[in-house]
Amino acid sequence: MLWAALSAFIMSITGKGDDTFVFRKTLEHLRKTVAAEVHDPGRRQKANATLDRAAAAFVRHRQRLDKVSKCLERLDRTYAVSALDYQLCIADARPAWNATTEELVRLDKEFERELTPAEYAAIRRGARR
């Protein structure tokens, strides 16, 4: 359920390309859905805290990848570079993706545990709208 939204966080790809604005919209929508569907203050607080952590994970993911981007840009501006120089930049990309995947899978499980099955189902339906 939440995973569909979280994967959108990671990729934030739309028909128009890489659109990080999608991330902000998706987060806002999920928060509204939680507010509408989770009436118990304790569970709502936990669910929102998990969303906070998911949002932070996405930003950290993009910041890690941004280091790769900046490294590549520096090489693109340099005439005398080798394949190894580029490989050293790119080497950080895979661990960044893997770490974020693990973190979001864990957060997704936490999110499910924090809610009742009915709330979870309602948010699942709401996340698609």
């Binding site: 569909a4 981007s69 090489l75 005439y79 990309a93 895979r94 995947t101």
Partner: protein, 142 residues
Amino acid sequence: MGGAPMRGHPLRALIFCLAAGAVGCGKELPPRLPSTAIHDRTASRVALVDFVISDRERASKVRTLYRQIEELMREAHRVQTSESKQQAQLSAGRLVSESETRASLALSRDAELTALERYVCLELAIRALTTPEEFARLDAIK
């Protein structure tokens, strides 16, 4: 997101972020993917190759290489878009298993990494076709 997570009111964290202009929820959006940054950087150079490289044959080859880089990055985005849509469709009908989501994200990751690997070869080929002076002039294009 600077500062500790805001708890309690469902929208408090978002309101806090909007007020603080923090990364990811304020005016400053999270950084773009490397493939997006490369695509945009390359696109700005394609049309200007002829102004920098006077030799038509070499200019044509360099232009082709830049276009190949653009296409590589677009292809990575196509795969990622497709995976994202497929995930959304799957989750609409049933709960998606952990292994399915991992596999889907691995495809997206690999699309990005494959594009980056090929782009390295193309970037090195561009250097083989340009002089340091031409390269510096192309680099000056923003």
